[in-house]
Symmetry: C3
Subunit: 681 residues, 3 copies
């Protein structure tokens, strides 16, 4: 039985349908704005994001504000029943601001300050920039913060990037001083005696980069941590300005999925709910299913940032225009993608963009309303039909929960360390790919998964999977030890538990720091394979390919489930199982093909006595299943992400809420088809 | 019946044979210069280009001039019957000039000023540089402008590149102010409200580039237009200096074929005739025929810049030395390439270079006279034999015309916009490749083609082909509409008529701005395919592959000739035909394999009742045919660009003017063989 | 009968076993240092390199020195019987030094000064840096220069790179002024009249690079020569400081094999013996044998720098951590690699590193003692066993000679010119690959080879091979002419003798400057082939593939042994043989597959009446044989570098000194197995 969450947007507690709208580009074309609103109504659009890039039009000169045009647009939209996500405009500043205060522009790692241009190109530290943002945010809040149409603050846009300016350098030094107190502690954490790179004072520290220090792993980690810290601090400054006027309006900021530049779990603490911009690459030949489970994994990562529903803030109605090859979404794909997001906890289907711009960098990006300006397009029709569907399901599903018995640890700081550290394989260890491959089995079979970083609490899960968790920090050893002791099932993979939070390697053979007690084994050495080089293992009734990394391990208390088939470590253990307390800890000492990963996951599920939400049926490849629950009902989303018709067998009768039909026996799903099955909890 | 053109070089009205000669490198080796001239005579050389890189030797110190060495060389050459193309030396400046006036050196897009070095590295705006160029040009003109040996001015060398220095930035702003008058107009043309990139004054404008504005398409277009404008202006300054002394000597500048950095139609207006430097990549396995029609297309593009014969200013006698793999020209290839140029309107066969330099960057580049310094080389012998041939044909062909009934629109500004605009396929849309593929059929079959940009007049052609003409400007819609109305045959392809001269997309569905009336259809959406992804269409009796771009179109008045075979737009039209006025407009909605292009071209020719110049015979692949005419005679160049022997059947009897033989029935052409057939007009 | 060399390290005249040790990183962990020394003893380690990166710990503030920690470490090591290579710490400077004197940091070719960071990042010219290095070196020498444990000075670390700062620019100008005296001579040597790049004074010269002069080949050559000169000069300054205290301690610096940044023959003159750091890429699929002969070739190149034994200063015990894929050494590979080094003249097996660092850029690099800190690893065991072997063979082999009857010319300056010159193939002419392919036959068959540059004397060799010797300098024409005249056998290959020491091409057809007299032929032109394009030749009983470069040559006195099979130069000579004086000069006019190279080498050996050291037996592929001799005994190292068992037939009986067994008939070698066979000389 799932929880019922409070509405994310209390002023309009419904599924949101709409997206980014830029009337500022059409101020000279009032007839187009009129037509747009008319078409929005036809498309069942009830929500738009406004003002994301409007600063130059809201404050065309310093301290000269022009709100009339926006007043008019907001009124017209509100009259049409369309609610507003009002953006703070810090993502792109006016020319005059950069001209008068060059310090607001970013400096790159070589010390070169960018000129005006680009989009996101502001220093996160600059006091001037923070002050100008505070002023415009306050003005916006004063004018619109209590308007009935405004249901949330869209704080800035896709925060990201870093700045190496003198102000940021100094803030970085202050951050380090606060963290380490003495330079000796910092030197030790960074192992800075290496290559005589010892610091004699905090003043000597510079950000890492192409023409400065690159060899110190700990410096890189702290620099990225600082960037998250400073970006969060900048965002807090923005939020304070709007909350000061009306604390009732919830704030969010639109994140970028698995983006590596920021540690989102930290950012998420400061906002009321999470939102994100999703641009999967559909229809790459033979990659659609992989893209689908990666996308679903990301929804779950985003959802778990606050463990509640979220907003899909941007997505595309058709093609993007910035890929090498920008493919159209084939019929059905759009509906499938949006309903899949909802199945994972989204309370919206929002798009970039309502109307195509006429010029500049994004003019070829698809929109609800294309350059034709009419409703006579396939895209418009698909969006409208989906709008009707969303209206239908909103009352049933809005605010419901996504229960999960499985946790996958996806840890951004560990990924930073893994990628930055020179190790056995510098040509690529696909951390995201590995984590999502462990997700696939559960996704296909309708077993809920939470995606969490190592700061989370794992005690209530039945299965915890920690793929390639290179860095052990956040007391993860303690937490996992207690979890297994108490009966949990844990799985780790090659190249885990190598280093601590400073990327200092753990010393010793079989030590608790590396969880050797829990896994009952220790790692002696690690071999690396070339792209087309494989080892193999025989497990169950099949032989599987092993790749990339092969640990040579020694068991202490663990049982060996499978061994290497080749090379000098032939017959050494590759899959081990260790009973520890009331639980079990598995380890796979090599990277491997996905078939072995799926096999392992099915074994874990069996061990944990978990079955898929559709019960004891076999689910064909290409299908992804997820579900939401409230106190009374469960809604199961069964989607076909393949380009072939698929049949899913059912073991009982459900209602398909999209067409109000009753479903039993088999569900036939056309390519990109989806059903939402209702059952009592 | 063709026109008879006035001689390009009235002082020596003959086919020119020779090339770049750099005696400055051999001043200390007078015996080598003597020997060179002796060998030139043996090779039937009657023309050399002098002084291209001589500034440091002509003006070794500021205002100190040394002409004696050049006097001597010119006298000796003139005595030997060798005429001079005298260069202005602005392409490479002396060290003292850069040392005293650093402003003459270019600044890159990141604001870094180049040091002395490279070759073409001067600011086009610098008043100092213009003044120093004016002085040296005037001195040269005063000394040699009336010398009987000097038959043309070779203005600078291969103008190109761009400069981002403060002087150029200011000139760019002035250019924009003149063009737009108000900043509001510029903002609208650039759609600069996008991302708040609105300008509040012209002073805020900077050139686009890696660390400044990149998102505004219109800014890029205007920057490139400005670069052409400023380069042309620089050239005009050079020309004025030499014309002031003797306006009788014609001026030219050597262009670089399909070079994208400049809009040559604008540059061409300011010179007396066009010349160009041609370096095709012969003998790439399986690519020779493609290289041949691309080269021939380029000759026609160059010829059409002034619609009259041109000078082939540079080409190579053997290998170049700057390619990844620099292959020798195989026996016959050199003769074939030069005679092919003449067939397309060249009045010369000139080479870089007469003698190999001994050191520095081009020492391995082939020459008439190699490091051996003798006549005992294959290259020398081939050049000499060709010189004899050219002498033979000069009186017959010199000044004759290249008639054409077909026009292909090749528009540089449209190409700029196409490549710069983020669109459905950013990994490559080969505009040049597509235009030349449409050229191939006519080239193979001996049907004359003019290659023109959209500023031209098309009314006298029977067929106009406009491949992927992304930008409609220069009133092209009007011109093409009237052309078809009056009975013309027009063909367009996918991704045409998308945007106007500012790269602003046309709005609306089926609109005249997009020529929807003429083509009888409109485009709803455009899908992109990966490199190895194909759709297909059945047309005539064959199935053809479609690739890269697939428009989903709706016919209004057009007839559907062929439909897509696959994907969600299966059975949607892909080839359409619309009768409009007295003419016909075809559209191919997808890129496709060349076989379909050739099929379409044959269909157009049939419709227009055009046959090849050899009449109703089938021409084998690998053969290229072109012809020149005067009032009385026609000269048909039939070349074999393949490495296999080919036979061309004739329907009548001709004279082969190269060997004075009579040809009838079949012509057997060995690999790289060529014949020139004479007939009465 | 071989020479007996004086010990490289007279204070400890034995094979050295050990490597780099960095106790500075573990100052706060005294128990780890204790444990390390205990483990070193177990591993038969008798030598460590100390202090390479210790400057920040030896001189934490300017003129404040701390030696106590190092005193203690040296005492403890000495007590344990472990001798010291004491490093001067100039390879990495302390923070304070860079902060106070930014001039010590390098400037790149674009004029950007590096920040503190990296490792080797100091200006070779800076007087301040030289002075600070002199002071710390003097302090070290005063404190440890007479310590009984210190057996050599390890001067700096892996000198390399270049600096474009104003001080270096000025030093470069001074260097040129000294070399050329007049600017006219420099202009001529650089052929600087080309492109008007003539210099009017030495003051105008700048280093070549991305934003300055790139077109002048001679400038590049002189810049690289200057870099070698200035690095050598810097090193001499370092050496002077330590020799001033105790001239008895030998000095060396660790080189980097075939590193192209320095001309090692020049550097080598200033040190007492040569040492190098070897990091072959073992176990790349199908590349191990190639890697093995390349590694052996490099050992011989290093040995010949001073024509005496050398020190292997660094190598790895297992994996490195900076390759795309860092593979473990498979069992046996480490022993094979180190004994192979000894077979080529090494007097050591030293490793980077004794203990893995815990953090920073090299923490994953393998070591004798891994993060586990124990002896329970395969690597530790293999190192220990090898230590025992080395102890056993030290007395027998130490100081013995590597006799050679074959010389291969490997000339760094010629390689610089070859790679820098724009020529027929700019996508790659693998000079190192070609030279090592000519080495392979001799290596496999146990025929000693000296690897020398063109400054060497060749008169005592039976065979001299000069692969692709593009540049003829150091009077090589004279030396080779006299060598052949006196009965020597010489072989050259395509693209040889093209240019002189300034990269000025030789003029004329068949000239003595190009050794046309000796080879009896001259080159008319040179064709280039694409990667997958081949010509062929029939020679002996087989057809061989020709590739990359095909010279079209004309014989004068030479006999043609084989001709081209295809293309327009079909039937032109490709292998020629010319009797000259009492000797023979062969030329192969094209690059070719290694099978033809091996065939040619066997022909040369036959002609020279040289057989392999094991006599008239056939050696299987994958085996490499080399040997050392003293006055009485010869030690033949027979190694199996393949992953298959191999059998080598013997024609007589030997003692295998590794296991004291007697060997006769067949030696079976497991993968990576090696035997050392003793026989009387």
């Amino acid at each position: 039985m799932g929880k019922k969450f409070k509405p994310l947007t209390p002023k309009y507690p419904h599924m949101l349908h709409g997206g980014d709208y830029n009337p500022d580009q059409w101020i000279d074309y009032p007839e187009i704005i009129e037509k747009d609103i008319e078409l929005m109504k036809k498309a069942h659009i009830n929500n738009v994001s406004l003002g994301i890039f409007s600063w130059a039009h809201l404050e065309p000169k310093k301290d000269v504000f022009e709100f009339e045009w926006l007043d008019k647009v907001i009124e017209k939209l509100y009259e049409a029943g369309i609610y507003i996500n009002l953006a703070t405009p810090s993502g792109a500043r006016p020319h005059w601001l950069a001209d008068e205060y060059p310090e607001v522009l970013r400096v790159d790692e070589k010390g070169v300050r960018a000129h005006f241009g680009f989009r996101h190109n502001h220093c996160m530290t600059s006091p001037v920039y923070r002050e100008r943002v505070r002023i415009i945010n306050t003005k916006l809040a004063q004018r619109y913060g209590k308007h009935p149409a405004v249901i949330m603050w869209h704080i800035s846009n896709e925060y990201g990037g870093e700045c190496h300016c003198p102000l940021c350098q100094q803030a970085f030094r202050d951050y380090l001083k606060e963290k380490y107190v003495t330079v000796e502690k910092m030197n030790h954490a960074w192992w800075a005696r290496f290559w005589s790179h010892t610091y004699s004072s905090f003043d000597e520290v510079e950000s890492p980069g192409a023409i400065s220090e690159t060899a110190i792993n700990g410096l890189w980690l702290d620099w990225w941590r600082f960037t998250t810290y400073q970006t969060t601090d900048f965002m807090k400054n923005e939020i304070a300005a709007v909350k000061a006027v009306n604390p009732e309006i919830p704030v969010t900021t639109n994140m970028m999925g698995l983006y590596d530049g920021l540690c989102y779990p930290k950012l998420a603490k400061e906002i009321d709910f999470v939102s994100w911009d999703s641009y999967p690459y559909w229809h790459v030949p033979n990659e659609n299913v992989k893209e689908a489970y990666t996308e679903s994994f990301t929804h779950d990562y985003i959802r778990c940032l606050k463990m509640k529903p979220f907003i899909l803030m941007e997505s595309t109605t058709g093609t993007v225009n910035w890929r090498p090859v920008s493919k159209m979404k084939k019929p059905g794909m759009h509906r499938l993608a949006i309903l899949n997001a909802i199945g994972h906890g989204a309370e919206s289907g929002l798009y970039f963009q309502i109307r195509q711009s006429r010029g500049s960098a994004e003019k070829m990006h698809s929109a609800v309303i294309s350059h034709t300006g009419t409703e006579n397009t396939r895209v418009f029709k698909e969006v409208s039909e989906l709008g009707a569907d969303m209206k239908k399901i909103s009352d049933l599903i809005y605010g419901s929960d996504n229960p999960a018995a499985v946790a996958i640890i996806y840890d951004k700081e560990s990924k930073w360390a893994l990628n930055q550290s020179n190790g056995p394989r510098n040509c690529g260890l696909d951390y995201d790919g590995l984590c999502t491959q462990y997700y696939k089995y559960f996704w296909q079979n309708g077993i809920g998964v939470d995606v969490l970083d190592s700061s989370a609490d794992f005690k209530d899960y039945k299965i915890v999977i920690a793929p390639m968790l290179y860095m052990y920090h956040n007391d993860i050893q303690d937490k996992l030890r207690k979890y297994v002791e108490a009966g949990g099932i844990l799985l780790s993979t090659a190249f885990s538990g190598v280093a601590d939070e400073n990327d200092l390697c753990f010393l010793g053979e079989a030590t608790d720091e590396k969880l050797s007690d829990v896994f009952g084994m220790w790692v002696e050495e690690i071999d690396a394979l070339f792209e087309e080089e494989f080892n193999e293992t025989f497990f169950g009734n099949d032989t599987y390919k092993l790749r990339e990394l092969c640990e040579v391990i020694h068991t202490t208390t663990a049982e060996t489930l499978a061994v290497y088939g080749n090379d000098y470590y032939k017959d050494f253990p590759v899959i081990t199982k260790n009973k520890y307390g009331k639980g079990i800890a598995y380890h796979i000492a090599a990277n491997c093909e996905i078939q072995l990963i799926e096999k392992m996951c099915s074994l874990l599920a069996e061990e944990a006595k978990i079955t898929g939400i559709l019960g004891n049926v076999s689910i064909p490849d290409g299908i992804g299943i997820n579900y939401r629950e409230n106190e009374a009902k469960r809604y199961i989303f069964v989607g076909n992400f393949s380009d072939k018709e698929k049949t899913v067998s059912l073991s009982k009768t459900y209602t398909n809420i999209l067409n109000d039909g009753v479903v039993f026996d088999d569900v036939k799903l056309e390519p990109y088809g989806i059903v939402i099955l209702e059952e009592d909890v």
